[in-house]
């Protein structure tokens, strides 16, 4: 019997690591499956290939999977996210001019303090008739929602005080260099590339905005998951093993050597290696600083698709698309995340399996033991920078409290 093949679409980003490593390091083969990787340059193309069967699964920005299931801007297609490929790993990078105007230091500053300085500059620029403009990688991206969450939280109203436009990751540094945008929120290595080209200065890691923000997911069409359930579970075990390997000390070099290759990221190995080891160079020529949990790929059951994460993304979709709350949509959005499949795949493996499928997001300050049906689960701080917490059962109450 020949092994089942999964064609997996991806964009050249460090957090595409797990499917790439599962393929390259034999974790897929060990589970009796093949992975073929399909590289694209836009999320629209990754999504279209997935919807029309060019690929079986995709490395995808989480909100796009939810927007697709809800039929935002196009006919709805039922989607399933059985695995989270990582938390955070993005940064906000200012143009060197904006960094100077805001007075960014040589270390990562406090989001509230930087926000206050940014608010002053944003107001000046608005009065001068040249409002600040930020680039995010997609309308339905965690980058967009994290950036907006921070801006609104420090009194800068997106779309009113500042403009937010779309810039694909590989072109984000160019947009900064050309002065088309004053800042970008993008994944690695593209912030580092902007810094190395001398056109940007990293202001914040998105982990400073939400310490455990959901980032890329493995997205599939629900119909494909149902048809190929056993093979999908094998794929999840391969990805889970790749994630465990990825965070093991001493493996970063090998991972970076694989990821840098032209068929994957086609990016400088140094920048890739720094991101994997939670190091970021904030200013051109500066010493990279260590920011723990910059990228979060495995510990604390990070790969587990919490329905409450999907619900938070849905709440931000309502907030910024200005659409009314619908209980049916909220249920559809939360049900895109499939903890049931994750549990099915990893039952009996020893991996920690949370007992609940949903939790209060942003409610943990100091590491806390959590109920698990298997293994021991300890969850670290998952705070939002403004100290708010999100209760997935009260989306409307949460939204009415937000600035």
């Amino acid at each position: 019997m020949s092994a089942e093949t999964f064609r997996i679409g991806f964009l050249p980003l460090v957090d595409a690591a797990l499917p790439i490593l599962a393929h390259e390091l034999g974790f897929a083969a060990r589970e009796g499956i093949n992975i073929e990787l399909v590289r694209d340059m836009t999320w629209a193309t990754v999504r279209d290939r997935l919807l029309y069967g060019h690929t079986d699964a995709a490395h995808m920005i989480a909100p796009l999977a939810i927007a697709t299931a809800l039929g935002r801007d196009r006919p709805a297609v039922p989607m399933a996210v059985p695995f989270v490929l990582g938390l955070n790993g993005n940064a906000v990078t200012f143009s060197t001019q904006l960094a100077q105007d805001v007075g960014l230091g040589e270390t990562l500053g406090d989001p509230t303090v930087i926000g206050a300085a940014l608010q002053r500059v944003a107001a000046e620029r608005k009065i001068a008739g040249k409002p600040l403009r930020f680039g995010v990688v997609h309308r339905y991206s965690s980058h967009n929602y994290m950036l907006r969450y921070w801006l609104a939280g420090v009194g800068i109203r997106p779309d009113t005080h500042v403009d937010i436009v779309v810039t694909s990751p590989p072109f984000a540094a160019d947009a900064l260099a050309a002065g088309e945008v004053d800042g970008i929120c993008v994944g690695e290595p593209w912030n580092s590339i902007a810094v190395e080209r001398g056109v940007g200065h990293i202001a914040l890691a998105t982990a400073q905005i939400w310490r455990r923000g959901v980032e890329k997911v493995l997205a599939m069409r629900e119909a494909v998951v149902e048809e190929r359930r056993d093979a999908v579970e094998a794929l999840l075990r391969a990805l889970h093993a790749a994630a465990a390997h990825f965070v093991e000390p001493g493996t970063a070099d090998e991972s970076a050597r694989i990821l840098e290759r032209p068929e994957y990221l086609d990016a400088p190995r140094d920048a890739v290696l720094r991101a994997i080891t939670d190091h970021i160079r904030l200013v051109p020529g500066g010493e990279p600083i260590h920011y723990p949990d910059f990228m979060f790929q495995h510990r604390e059951a990070a790969n587990f698709p919490w329905r409450s994460q999907a619900a938070w993304l849905y709440s931000q979709m309502l907030r910024w698309d200005h659409i009314p709350y619908s209980a049916a949509d909220a249920a559809t959005a939360a049900a895109v995340f499939r903890p049931d499949i994750y549990r099915g795949a990893l039952a009996g493996s020893g991996a920690p399996l949370p007992g609940a499928s949903s939790k209060l997001e942003g409610g943990i300050d100091t590491p806390l033991g959590a109920g698990s049906v298997q293994g021991r689960l300890l969850l670290g701080s998952d705070r939002f920078f403004d100290g708010r917490a999100f209760d997935p059962d009260d989306i409307q109450g949460y939204l009415s409290d937000l600035p």
């Binding site: 340059m41 629209a44 193309t45 029309y52 069967g53 006919p75 997609h138 309308r139 694909s168 072109f171």
Partner: protein, 193 residues
Amino acid sequence: MRIAIIDTSTTRAAIISDGLREAGLDDLVLIDPAGPLVAQIEAATPEVVLINLENPSRDLLEDFFAMSRALARPIAMFVDQSDTEATFAAIDAGVSAYVVDGLSQQRIKPILDLAVRRFHAFSSLQRELDDAKNALAERAVIDRAKAILMKRRRIDEPEAYALLRGQAMSTNRRIAEIAEAIVTSDALLGDIE
């Protein structure tokens, strides 16, 4: 019905617009890939936008369609779910399309079908061109290998060719491969007698 064509290949854009024009659809706007994309679309006010699937500007474009207040009605991603076959064909060919919401299926399908045929025609042209280029390059290598053999073995051209062909047949390789090996080894070892 105004149709805008956005393509990173200007040749393919020309092939598509020729096809549409032949079919009587002559309200066409070719978007200059080097110019400002959004401003050009805004000025064109198209009802249908054809774009190559792998165009790097698609995320930007979709954001513009979602946000745009300049266009009278929002533009939705084609195709209607009822005609998945046409959509599959389009994605396979590498075409993506956006249409003004509310345009009827009957009016759009012929455009998409035509675009798909033209995309395929472009691909096969490209292949023929590549094949022709390869054939030319191969012929040049074979000529050089023959010249090397003629000089070093003091034989004439038909004999040199027979030698190449014989070696190719007995080793089950292509003549061009044998010729390339000879040219390479001559470059490295040619001065050793």
